[in-house]
């Protein structure tokens, strides 16, 4: 290997989604694991080929919703029954039916905030810098092109060998991604 610039990986560009899907399948069969695909819209088949199935977002949102629910009911219980009880004609201080709307709103609010912040945090966003943006043609990933990156940390990665493999998968171009 002739190490000129440290490499993040090799990036292949595809003109349509079918080529990308079969390229991922081929590379996975060869044993490559540190792959990532970049598409202009979500493609389920790409996740399947990459072996991306479950994620933590749903679980986090459930926890967020639960926390919101407990917060809502707890706030109303504590303020109305403990900290500032007002006896209105002997009616119960902890009047659950009247506390349902705010409990519901707090549940939704906390769950929604968790969904967005959790998704961003798990994705590592905001990310001010990422090596893939060093490839000039990568700007098309947000328009009409599909990219596949083999990261240099993959045990099978070989600058020349991997490049030859990628070029055999009918890409539009193959580029080196400087780190």
């Amino acid at each position: 290997m002739t190490a000129r610039v440290p490499l993040y990986g090799l990036m292949a560009e595809f003109a349509d989604v079918n080529h990308l899907v079969s390229a991922i399948r081929k590379l996975r069969q060869m044993g490559y694991r540190r792959l990532d695909a970049f598409t202009p819209f979500p493609v389920e088949e790409v996740w399947e080929e990459l072996g991306v199935h479950r994620n933590m977002v749903s679980f986090l949102v459930f926890c967020g919703g639960l926390a919101g629910c407990l917060f809502g009911i707890g706030l109303q219980y504590w303020t109305s029954a403990i900290d500032y009880p007002i006896n209105v004609g002997g009616r119960p201080l902890f009047s659950i039916p009247a506390f349902v709307p705010i409990t519901f709103e707090c549940t939704v609010l906390f769950a929604a905030l968790t969904a967005v912040l959790g998704m961003l945090a798990l994705n590592g966003l905001p990310a001010p810098y990422h090596p893939v943006f060093n490839v000039p043609r990568f700007a098309l990933a947000s328009r009409d092109r599909f990219f596949l990156c083999v990261e240099a940390t993959d045990p099978l990665f070989d600058r020349e060998g991997t490049r030859r493999v990628l070029e055999s998968l009918s890409p539009v171009s193959v580029a080196e991604v400087p780190d």
């Binding site: 079969s22 819209f41 994620n55 900290d83 500032y84 969904a115 990422h130």
Partner: protein, 454 residues
């Protein structure tokens, strides 16, 4: 997506590719400012200054400048609050509920409708605060530990409203922003100006379209839709509790929540049509917002309009059936009292004219449909006027009856919030993609993976 018997045309015009969809929608933002936009923005901004002027006078002189009095303590402020918040329901309905029902046609209009929702809720939120008398103390509504040693009354629907509306505004903003992230990345990559690249770059937060990111993104987006669906129903239900929990005849009715929610969707779709009809033409987006979309929106209006008409009918029926003299007087007063003209106008604009939507020919006739949508916008405003003012002005004791009329400041504030709404909309159209680009890409035939086993 089963095609109806009659051909309604495609969801997206023929011959489009990923490139053309991206470039066409992004061009509205990235090209030079057009004269028509400048004119529209200018007019809206003038209206916005009227709002600022009215609010400045209000802050100096207090709410005595408005027409409200005793017995009519809720006037234009609450009418406009309910009107705006109703309009603000279409966006989340389109983005969340139609997403869960897999109505792919929603993709062309959801971004725009969400923005409209956000701005309508912003206008709505201003009214209760301005109505407070001492608006600078609005934070007393929030439960925070304070030197007075008191807490808000959580048993009051007005308190529920604070939580419902602020949650709705927050969740709508989140939903809208999450939907925008991939498109902001597109604008970052397509923008030719340095400033544009920096600003869109910061907002896109380094989105790169990685498959792992898309996977979590889709989960989060779907969950947000699921959370927003009951939320959107809850908001206008809670708004209707502001009335239904009170004992005023004309307010104290169990039909209020469903009837208010249907009215909100009705008003929201009318406003979406009012705005998209001129926009799609001006920006040449007929390929993305097709006749099929227009037709579907007209159908939703017809359906929700019928629910609203049923609500009107039930109010009259219950007044008779309950045998309550105050209820039956309220209906008689509505139909024949001093505000009967407004009630008649309400029935014509909100019930009679929308029946035209039964006809396919009307649903596909753009100028006529625009006129029907305008009629509903007016009708829904009249509905709130009738519910609030006409119920309040003559309640139980004839000695406490009175009359109500808005003053110039009432009208000025109302026109002013229309200015605020339009100003925000014009800025949105100019600065952000009004159609979700990445979701439009998924509708193209080339986005489907053809399964071939290698």
């Amino acid at each position: 997506m089963s095609a109806p018997a009659r051909d309604l045309g495609p969801i997206i015009g023929p011959g489009h590719t990923f490139e053309t969809v991206t470039d066409k929608i992004a061009a509205v933002v990235l090209s030079e400012t057009r004269k028509g936009w400048m004119l529209g923005f200018g007019i809206s901004f003038v209206l916005l200054t009227i709002f600022l002027q009215c609010v400045a006078v209000l802050f100096v002189r207090g709410i005595g400048i408005w027409g409200i009095n005793i017995p009519v303590g809720w006037g234009f402020d609450i009418i406009n609050f309910v009107w705006w918040i109703g309009i603000g329901h279409a966006g989340t309905l389109i983005s969340a509920i139609l997403l869960l029902f897999r109505q792919t046609w929603r993709t062309s209009i959801n971004r725009f409708a969400e923005a409209m929702t956000l701005f309508a809720v912003a206008c709505a939120g201003l009214y209760p605060i301005l109505h407070l008398g001492r608006p600078w103390l609005f934070y007393w509504l929030l439960p925070y530990p304070n030197a007075m040693g008191m807490w808000p009354n959580f048993r009051s629907p007005l308190m529920w409203d604070v939580f419902a509306v602020s949650t709705y505004a927050t969740v709508s903003a989140l939903f809208w922003f999450v939907g925008l992230i991939p498109d902001l990345a597109t604008l970052r990559d397509r923008s030719t100006s340095r400033v544009g690249r920096i600003i869109y770059g910061i907002l896109a937060m380094g989105w790169r379209g990685s498959a792992r990111h898309w996977n979590r993104y889709e989960t989060a987006y779907l969950l947000l839709a699921g959370l927003s669906t009951p939320l959107v129903v809850s908001v206008h239900s809670v708004v209707s509790f502001d009335f239904a929990v009170g004992i005023i005849p004309g307010w104290h009715a169990t039909i209020f929540p469903p009837y208010f929610v249907a009215g909100a969707i009705y008003a929201g779709f009318a406003m979406v049509l009012t705005l998209t009809i001129p926009l799609r033409r001006y920006y040449g987006l007929e390929d993305f917002i097709t006749m099929r979309h227009i037709n579907y929106m007209a159908r939703v209006m017809l359906a929700t309009g019928l629910v609203v008409a049923y609500g009107y009918l039930m109010e009259i029926f219950m007044a008779w059936y309950s045998g309550n003299p105050f209820e039956s007087f309220m209906v008689k007063n509505r139909l024949t009292g001093p505000y009967s003209t407004l009630y008649a106008a309400l029935i014509v604009t909100n019930v009679v004219i929308p029946q035209l939507l039964w006809f396919q020919r009307v649903r596909t006739n753009i100028p006529l449909l625009f006129a029907v949508a305008m009629s509903i916008n007016v009708g829904m405003w009249l509905e709130r006027y009738v519910i609030i003012v006409v119920s309040l002005h003559r309640d139980f004791l004839p000695s406490s009856w009175g009359m109500y009329a808005g003053t110039i400041y009432d009208y000025g504030t109302f026109i002013g919030t229309i200015g605020l709404f339009l100003t925000l909309l014009f800025l949105f159209i100019r600065l952000l993609p009004m159609i979700s680009i990445f979701e439009m890409r998924t509708l193209l035939p080339e986005a489907k993976v053809k399964e071939k086993h290698a």
